[in-house]
């Protein structure tokens, strides 16, 4: 019998409305420990709403949301130290240096100052900013700031990392480099990670599983991506096309995807 990891995130029949607009309509999904899941979809598909439910910044109108066994909106303190978020913008505090920004999460978790300093320095080194710790955010480039933001999230050693379009505001080259570095870190650390993106390349490069959302947020396509498939350019291209079709984007070469080459679930 295979040892199936327990779900760290469970959404059961979740709906969320803003006035007359339904952002999420009876969505169910789960994310297991150590899994990296990408939420893909067009603008308005409800990706960010799902993210806000997971962060606990809003609560579901119907259904249940469970993150590490707790309701993130109601059990505010239960997720202390278990959850970290990297946002679309870096959200660095301008009065703190890069090092102090990375230390912030650790200090909020009441870790000793010396430990926070040591750990932040290590994480800055890990995201290739070892020399920039003394610089203020205003002195850093957009890519560097986003690296600091990632280091701040990962430094607290959370069970779950949420990324809300963290690479989308960067130029193509910076985004690609940062994406690769991040993918390397999450695989190495075996972190459970959910990230929202509208870039198919981001999802294919980082995720173990891709959930394509269609408005109002429901899963219209689910793909599993293995390490071996990532090495296969043809397979990646087919997945790319299938995702594009599910999202509703145009493709130049709408070749039929071969379902046998990768695990897909049409919803």
């Amino acid at each position: 019998m295979t040892n199936v990891p327990t779900p760290l995130i469970e959404l059961r029949d979740v709906s969320k409305r803003f006035g007359s607009h339904t952002a999420i309509d009876h969505l169910s999904m789960e994310v297991r420990e150590g899994e990296t899941v990408a939420l893909l979809g067009q603008t308005g598909a409800g990706k960010s709403t799902v993210m806000s439910l997971l962060m606990g910044t809003s609560s579901a109108d119907d259904g249940t949301v469970r993150v590490a066994g707790a309701d993130p909106a109601r059990d505010f303190v239960a997720l202390r130290g278990k959850l970290a978020v990297s946002f679309q913008t870096d959200r660095l505090l301008p009065w703190r240096t890069a090092q102090e920004n990375v230390e912030l999460g650790l200090l909020l978790l009441n870790r000793p100052r010396a430990e926070a300093r040591e750990r932040a320095a290590q994480w800055l080194q890990r995201v290739k900013l070892g020399d920039a710790g003394h610089k203020y955010p205003a002195e850093l480039s957009g890519g560097m700031r986003q690296r600091v933001s990632l280091a701040r999230a990962l430094a607290v050693d959370p069970a779950l990392v949420l990324l809300d379009e963290s690479f989308s505001q960067l130029d193509h080259v910076t985004s690609q480099t940062l994406r690769r570095d991040f993918a390397e870190i999450v695989r190495e650390q075996r972190k459970t990670c959910v990230f929202v993106t509208h870039r198919i390349e981001d999802a294919l490069e980082i995720a173990d599983r891709i959930l394509v959302l269609a408005a109002p947020a429901r899963v219209c396509l689910e793909l599993s991506v293995s390490a071996a498939q990532r090495q296969d350019a043809a397979c990646m291209a087919r997945m790319h096309q299938q995702i594009e079709r599910a999202i509703g984007g145009d493709t130049d070469d709408p070749a039929e995807a071969d379902p046998s080459s990768f695990t897909t679930t049409e919803h």
Binding site: T57, V77, A84, T89, W95, P112, E115, Q122, K135, V156
Partner: protein, 284 residues
């Protein structure tokens, strides 16, 4: 936990911690910037023009209307040798009132911005206070307090406090929700939220308020001393006026302007020291 126990897979040996390396920003901010130098040049030009106008004016009108700047300078020198205690008393009153108003005003501003229960009432109280003329407070202080120190402290506090409260309240309101969401993702306590986000965020507002109220506070303390005390620059100005010493009245005025400039300069230095992280925008 020992420091050596912390190890992140894939991480190289960390660079020296920030505390071991002083950021260059702090040293750089004390050096006068080109903008500061041009401000100083403009100030010198304006002061020279004012003194020139006074000198020319003194040629055509009697001494009891406009004495020459040389006469004023002599009077100033004499006052500084005999009345230095009065200067110290005025400065002491000013400092105590500004520091007290800043502390209480910041606390009230924070409550206005963060407490849903007490906030609206404090806001209403502060708004009512801002509508009461300074002169009313001065007259009421004379009725309510016998001790001149209490009178002056009360007058300055009720006048300065609302500036701090309202500006800090605006500072809390201007807090970015992005930062609040970021910090809340770590599930902080209310105290941590205040310490790591709200307090550093309102520091520029406190400096702005202090710099804005210094000139006003000096005018108020002089006025309060004039009506409520036998000590301090205000009372000495009243004495000079009653003895028809216009050179002394103008000498005190010059001294007050210089004091204002010095205090402003100290506040600017402190601001640069604490807000060195700010990148100043250049508008064409």
């Amino acid at each position: 936990m020992k420091q050596a126990d912390i190890q992140i897979p894939g991480a190289a040996k960390p660079a020296p911690s920030v505390s071991a390396r002083k950021p260059p920003t702090t040293a750089a901010i004390v050096t006068p910037k080109p903008r500061d130098r041009s401000d100083l040049k403009a100030l010198c030009v304006v002061v020279v023009l004012i003194f020139a106008a006074m000198e020319i004016g003194s040629w055509y009108v009697p001494d009891y209307v406009m004495p020459s700047p040389v006469v004023i300078a002599k009077a100033l020198g004499q006052l500084l040798s005999t009345d230095l205690l009065h200067v110290a008393i005025t400065l002491g009153r000013l400092c105590v009132a500004i520091v007290f108003s800043a502390f209480v005003g910041v606390a009230i501003g924070l409550l206005m911005g963060t407490s849903k229960k007490v906030g609206p009432y404090l806001k209403a109280l502060v708004v009512v206070d801002t509508g009461i003329p300074a002169l009313s407070w001065m007259l009421l202080a004379v009725f309510w307090f016998k001790d001149p120190e209490a009178r002056i402290f009360f007058i300055l506090t009720v006048i300065l406090l609302p500036f701090y409260a309202l500006n800090v309240y605006e500072g809390v309101r201007a807090l970015s929700t992005d930062w609040v969401d970021m910090l809340e993702s770590f599930r902080p306590s209310r105290w941590q939220m205040l310490r790591y986000l709200v307090a550093p965020h309102i520091v520029p507002y406190i400096f702005l308020t202090t710099k804005s109220v210094i000139g006003y506070a000096i005018r108020m303390v002089i006025f309060a001393e004039l009506v409520a005390s036998a000590f301090g620059i205000g009372s000495r100005m009243s004495f000079a006026q009653s003895t028809f010493r216009i050179d002394q009245v103008l000498a005190w005025t010059v001294l007050l302007v210089v004091l204002n400039l010095v205090i402003q300069w100290i506040a600017t230095l402190a601001e640069a020291r604490f807000l060195g992280w700010r990148k100043e925008a250049k508008v064409r």
